[in-house]
């Protein structure tokens, strides 16, 4: 049977099963098995077993449960309120004041938690009532939360970058380094826009009532130091080449436990809760990864990715046009699939095509995470929007409209990174050169 017909049937099978609510990992397996049957290959049972074993016993993946566990421990400490109290006195003079607390606490919290929905919910639960009480514009409060909730996907140690690194065979350490500059750029874009907005709409920001003395500021800083040290230590040891990401993750767990212990929020209950939470999340991700590994092998047998790559080469499609089409595809996929599923689906089908077009897989990893972030707040179906809807009780149209500027800021970031790929690749090449 022709590859294109098989590809078409598989696409129908995939979307049919996904839409009917079959678990994503099982849908991937279904597609792979259907493909093998259509091809007339009857050894798929054996191939399934070997590809699954190969995928899940890969030691570089061991970073995944450890980073998730670290996040789960910190999630159960006073971290979110410490961030809020620690940052507030420092942002008193920046136009937009408390709105920046939303952005920065999301950025920092996201760096350790890795889930954008959980970040938006945890930070929002604390900052939204406070912003409301002080008379900030609702729309902008929700918008900053929606936008910066997605930061967790990019800012290292990001779970989704580990998944991409393993699936696309790119060094996880290098991906973490590559994510740093675009992550900072995104935070600056968000803060810059908020300042611009605050200067344009002074009526929607309450006039300054509190001014903070230096002693208050320094006391606030003390609350930020422990978590800042932990993040610096974990990332620093990876960036400095002292440890592999997996080893840094193990230290991260120890550091998080220490932080929870000294903050006296380490109870038997929180320890067991964090561990079981990490077990569930990492199991869910690994089942998807195992499904994707089998799908990749099956796709290789069918020859679909190779055929797509060859036809792209024959069409002489410019990389920009290819990226434009892929961006549209990912935003649509991201509207109903979670980021990790989008990434593994992509690597099993699209990656050969991307490599054929001469695109750096390291750069592509950061690009795809940015696009996935964007899809999280795509109006009106992005997942973060649903979380904010339940958080605030506002209707979807209001939330979508509020989040729209941040959607465009993310789009702008994608364009910048595409036009100046050096933003992504400069730091990793600089650091590995020494």
């Amino acid at each position: 049977m022709n590859e294109l017909i098989i590809g078409g049937i598989l696409l129908v099978v995939l979307f049919g099963f996904l839409a009917s609510g079959l678990w994503v990992a099982l849908s991937l397996l279904m597609v792979a098995i259907s493909g093998m049957i259509l091809l007339g290959n009857d050894a798929f049972g054996l191939i399934y077993a070997t590809s699954t074993w190969g995928a899940v016993s890969d030691w570089s993946l061991a970073a995944l449960p450890l980073f998730i566990w670290m996040g789960e421990i910190l999630f159960r400490t006073r971290l979110s309120s410490d961030l809020f109290e620690g940052l507030t006195p420092w942002l008193g003079r920046v136009p937009g004041r408390l709105l920046h607390v939303n952005i920065l606490s999301c950025g920092l919290f996201a760096a350790v938690s890795g889930s954008s929905a959980a970040t938006a919910a945890t930070i929002g639960k604390m900052t939204l009532p406070e912003l409301k009480k002080q008379g900030y514009d609702d729309k902008m409060a929700i918008a900053t939360l929606a936008g910066s909730g997605t930061l967790g996907l990019l800012i290292p140690p990001s779970i989704i970058l580990i998944v991409y690194g393993v699936a696309a065979e790119v060094s996880i350490g290098r991906l973490f380094i590559a994510g740093a500059v675009p992550g900072i750029m995104l935070v600056m874009l968000f803060m810059g826009y908020t300042m611009y907005w605050a200067l344009r709409n002074p009526s929607k920001v309450p006039s300054d009532t509190v001014s903070y003395s230096w002693s208050v500021k320094l006391k606030a800083l003390l609350k930020l130091i422990p978590v800042a040290l932990l993040v610096l230590f974990v990332l620093g040891s990876i960036y400095g080449g002292l440890t592999t990401p997996t080893e840094a993750a193990a230290f991260g767990v120890v550091g998080a436990l220490l932080l929870a212990y000294t903050g006296s929020s380490l109870t038997r209950e929180s320890l067991v809760g964090s561990l079981m939470g990490a077990t569930k999340t990492s199991c869910m991700i690994l089942l998807i990864l195992a499904g994707a590994a089998f799908l990749t092998v099956a796709m290789g047998f069918i020859g679909l990715p190779r055929m797509l790559a060859e036809s792209i080469a024959a069409m002489q499609l410019s990389p920009y046009l290819l990226l434009f089409i892929l961006t549209l595809l990912f935003v649509v996929l991201g509207c109903f699939l979670d980021g990790i599923s989008v990434v593994v689906l992509t690597t099993s089908v699209v990656l050969p095509m991307v490599l054929q077009a001469g695109i750096d897989p390291l750069w592509f990893g950061i690009y795809i995470v940015l696009v996935v972030e964007m899809s999280q707040i795509t109006p009106p179906v992005g997942f973060n929007l649903f979380v904010l809807q339940s958080l605030t009780g506002r209707d979807m149209i209001f939330i979508s409209k509020a989040a729209l500027p941040f959607f465009f800021l993310l789009l702008f970031a994608v364009v910048i990174v595409t036009v100046f790929p050096g933003i992504v690749t400069w730091l990793p090449s600089e650091m590995t050169a020494n």
Partner: protein
């Protein structure tokens, strides 16, 4: 029976959590050993084996807690009756699929055992020992899927919501209490 099955899922979940702690310990031992000039033999391999065991043993536990991701964007718009029908279809499909895959993984373990395969690292371990938890986890997963399928067909039991789904549905905070009523189901 219900009591026994729940114990089984939970027990496997706890074992899986223990594996994650063990991964952490193995990795730490490896780094500390490196500082002191001691090589912890095959620590990479062990971390990989523990990861495999951990991820498969937790399958049923995660499934029971709604941890596995599925797309509910379309099915959540259905009426109660058609949603239940959809869930039954999905559960029966999943039961057949997972049972078959569990059989294939068991077959892999049996082959490793009969050919006396050894792991390729410094410390050679019979492969069937490290592969056994993977097959076992998948078998328990198959039992839990069939269990839920049976409960769905017999008693109309629903698939548990995921944590993120309940995050998106729970009203855990209300800022504008009066805005609440007219926002339900609008503009989705």
């Amino acid at each position: 029976m219900r009591f026994f099955l729940n114990k089984l899922y939970h027990g496997a979940g706890v074992l899986s959590a223990v594996c994650i702690v063990a991964i952490c310990v193995v990795i730490l031992a490896r780094v500390v050993g490196r500082w002191m000039g001691i090589v912890v033999p095959s620590s990479d391999d062990f971390a990989g084996f523990l990861l495999a065991a951990s991820s498969f043993l937790a399958l049923a536990y995660t499934f029971q807690h709604g941890g596995h991701i599925r797309v509910s964007l379309f099915t959540s718009r259905l009426s109660e009756k058609s949603a239940l029908f959809c869930e039954r279809f999905v559960l029966v499909t999943a039961s057949v699929l997972v049972a078959y895959l569990a059989y294939e993984l068991c077959y892999m373990v049996w082959e490793s055992w009969s050919y006396e395969e050894l792991s390729s690292g410094f410390v050679a371990i019979p492969m069937w020992i490290v592969q056994l938890p993977v097959a076992l986890g998948m078998v328990i997963f198959a039992i839990s899927v069939i269990d839920l399928a049976a409960c769905s067909l017999l008693f109309g039991k629903r698939i548990p919501l995921s944590e993120e789904e309940s995050l998106a549905e729970k009203d855990f905070i209300k800022i504008d209490g009066n805005d609440r009523q007219d926002s339900k189901g609008e503009g989705q």
